[in-house]
């Protein structure tokens, strides 16, 4: 036994030190990953901007200043401004009750939250038409009261909210379950009221999950096409969102304007990424600590 021990130790110490076991494999894998990224992510991005600017900056700006495009920008922002907060609110409530309480229907609720992910957005849009359209379930009542939902902003908001429903909740539920209830109890013994616990403990400890959820939810809400296209009626300048406007313009052979509009959506994605990176950088100490803790457990 005593003779064997040093040999084992040598082996254990040396193994991690052995560098580059397969230099070729490593290089090949990195190259493939890089090429893939370039081909499927970088190239399209370059094409979008080069096409958008193909007729010069002046044309690019005037394409964006078109009343139809401006209206699409407004519609997109309006939809996201309602859908994202609604889903944030819902996500927080859902994660709170799923993580804290055991109740009948809890598993069912978790499954239900995933539903919008597994349904085609077009079906989701159609669903709204079947419910709120003129021949739909609530159609007669709505038209009696002069409320228009389908082919108008409310329908588009409803469809987008439905499609982006799981983003925040899906991010928060596992996080809240993992974090448990200990810190809330500690806050109780330290004299905090229910509201104080929520604002000072529960919400802040979920904030990174919440941030990712909001960014994803917002990106999807602004970029949503399928569901919105079914309920919007696609009247350029009235009920087009940015993604719908891209299609409208492209279909009417205004290629440069279509790409200029598309570049806005691409910029949205870039801004989202930069924002996320900046926030992570600003809170790097805290995040680093969280990661270390996770690695330790």
């Amino acid at each position: 036994m005593a003779v064997n021990t040093p040999a084992i130790e040598t082996y254990l110490v040396n193994t991690p030190v052995r560098e580059k076991p397969f230099p070729f494999a490593k290089l090949a894998l990195i190259t493939v990953a890089m090429l893939f990224m370039a081909l499927f992510l970088l190239l399209p991005l370059i094409v979008v901007f080069s096409e958008a600017l193909s007729a010069g900056l002046g044309e690019y700006l005037s394409a964006l200043a078109d009343p139809g495009v401006l209206s699409a920008i407004w519609m997109t922002v309006a939809i996201a401004a309602v859908a994202v907060p609604a889903n944030v609110l819902f996500g927080i409530i859902a994660s709170w009750c799923i993580a804290r309480f055991k109740f009948t229907g809890r598993e069912f609720l978790i499954t239900l939250i995933d539903l919008p992910f597994s349904i085609s957005p077009v079906v989701a849009g159609l669903l709204q038409v079947l419910l709120f359209g003129t021949t739909g379930l609530f159609g007669p009542w709505l038209s009696d009261h002069n409320i228009q939902i389908i082919f108008a902003l409310p329908g588009m908001i409803l469809a987008t909210t439905f499609v982006t429903f799981p983003f925040v909740a899906r991010e928060l539920i596992p996080l809240a379950q993992e974090q448990g209830n200990d810190e809330e109890e500690a806050a109780v013994t330290l004299g905090a009221s229910g509201l104080q616990i929520f604002w000072r403990v529960s919400l802040p400890k979920l904030r990174w999950g919440l941030l990712y959820g909001v960014l994803l939810c917002n990106a999807r809400a602004m970029g949503e096409f399928g569901a919105v296209s079914v309920v919007s009626g696609k009247v350029f300048g009235y009920t087009d969102t940015l993604s719908l406007a891209v299609e409208s313009l492209y279909d009417s052979y205004e290629i440069q304007a279509a790409f200029a509009t598309a570049s806005l959506l691409a910029m949205l994605a870039l801004v989202t990424l930069v924002l996320k990176a900046a926030l992570e950088w600003a809170h790097r100490d805290e995040l680093h600590a969280l990661k270390r803790k996770k690695a330790a457990t």
Partner: protein, 366 residues
């Protein structure tokens, strides 16, 4: 002045499972009291009831003359240290300790002053801007304690305070906590399943089992005079022999004498700690040495009488001097022990047959 805690007829059930069953306990002002028991004995539930994190089905909890159950956790003045610390992960050490003061809207200068004093107390002044995840287990434990002390509580409650720490840190922290308690003199209850911890730290120990208090007293009293079989078994190893008592003489069912007692005639169970079994080499001995093992400072000797086995313990040096070898025949003397009746209650002392002093002399001269 320190606070008295009075617990009367407390019962708490979760569904059909009774976790605490008619518990009565009085904690003296400034006392450091340990609730000792196996997991599931209800000790943590009792702590949570005192803190106001849970509520009893029936019973009374009073702080001095104050009905604590009628008050919110905030008004009870209880400091609670959680088993896994439950520090706020998104706050720095400073903010964690300042939390209760901020909740109470204390002036900024006062918060800074008080938190700095507490940081000094726990010797972590240099780590004020760290996050909990950047601290070691012992450091987190101390931050949790400082956070609980920030409101200057009347009562301090600690749930398995050293459970998640390694042995060396645990020992240091234990001594530090004992010292701190002597300085601040806050009535303190802590929960543990570790006998050594309870005995070293506490003024008084309360032994809990299956939702009831089995015994309370000073560590020495409890160890010397365990109230029932559970307490005896919980406080460390012992040899267990079925025995018959006949006019003061105790005879093991396996056919060897155990000693004398004042208990009435009948059946009993004798519990004898390993260090109460003295061994002496003897060619006519009815026992045999089966196995010798050393655990460092102490030696263990497994002995056998026909089919019956027993464990004896002695200082390792004494074993060397005794000249005991495996397989050797020996004489055995039981220098102490406890007899329990068929219900495992009414303990009586078991005393040695012969004067033990000669046994000692014989052992060392052998």
């Amino acid at each position: 002045m320190s606070t008295t805690i009075e617990i009367k007829n407390i019962t708490r059930s979760f569904g059909r499972h009774t976790v605490l069953n008619d518990v009565n306990l009085a904690v003296q002002p400034g006392e450091l009291l340990a609730l000792l028991g196996p997991s599931g004995s209800g000790k943590t539930t009792l702590l949570r009831l005192i803190a106001g994190l849970d509520f009893p089905d029936t019973g009374i909890i009073k702080f001095d003359k104050d009905d604590a159950l009628g008050r919110k956790p905030k008004e009870r003045g209880v400091g609670f240290v959680f088993q896994h610390y439950a520090l706020f992960r998104h706050m720095t050490v400073f903010e964690n300790i300042a939390f209760a003061l901020r909740i109470r809207r204390a002036p900024k200068a006062e918060v800074t002053e008080r938190v700095n004093a507490l940081l000094k107390l726990i010797q972590l002044e240099t780590l004020a801007s760290r996050y909990p995840a950047q601290l070691s287990g012992g450091q987190r434990q101390r931050v949790a304690l400082a956070r609980a002390l920030a409101i200057q509580p009347r009562v301090l409650l600690l749930d398995e305070p050293f459970g998640a720490l390694d042995a060396v840190v645990r020992r240091d922290l234990r001594r530090w906590l004992r010292q701190l308690h002597e300085e601040m003199n806050i009535t303190t209850l802590f929960v543990t399943h570790d006998q050594e911890e309870a005995f070293e730290l506490a003024d008084r120990v309360v032994i809990m089992n299956a939702g009831q208090i089995n015994q309370e007293g000073t560590p020495i009293d409890i160890y010397r005079e365990p109230a029932n079989v559970f307490v005896h078994e919980f406080l460390g190893e012992s040899n267990k022999f079925l025995a018959t008592i006949k006019s003061g003489l105790v005879q093991a069912a396996a056919g060897f004498p155990l000693g004398t007692t004042t208990a009435p005639d009948g059946q009993a169970t004798a519990y004898i700690r390993p260090h109460h079994i003295l061994l002496r080499p003897s060619l006519r001995g009815a026992w045999r040495v089966q196995r010798l093992t050393s655990t460092g400072a102490h030696a263990r000797v497994t002995i056998a009488h026909n089919e019956t086995q027993a464990e004896s313990a002695m200082p390792a040096d004494a074993l060397l001097e005794s000249g005991l070898t495996e397989g050797a025949p020996i004489d055995v003397t039981f220098t102490g022990g406890t007899l329990f009746d068929a219900q495992g209650k009414t303990p009586t002392k078991l005393t040695a047959l012969k004067p033990t002093l000669t046994q000692f002399t014989n052992l060392h001269s052998a």
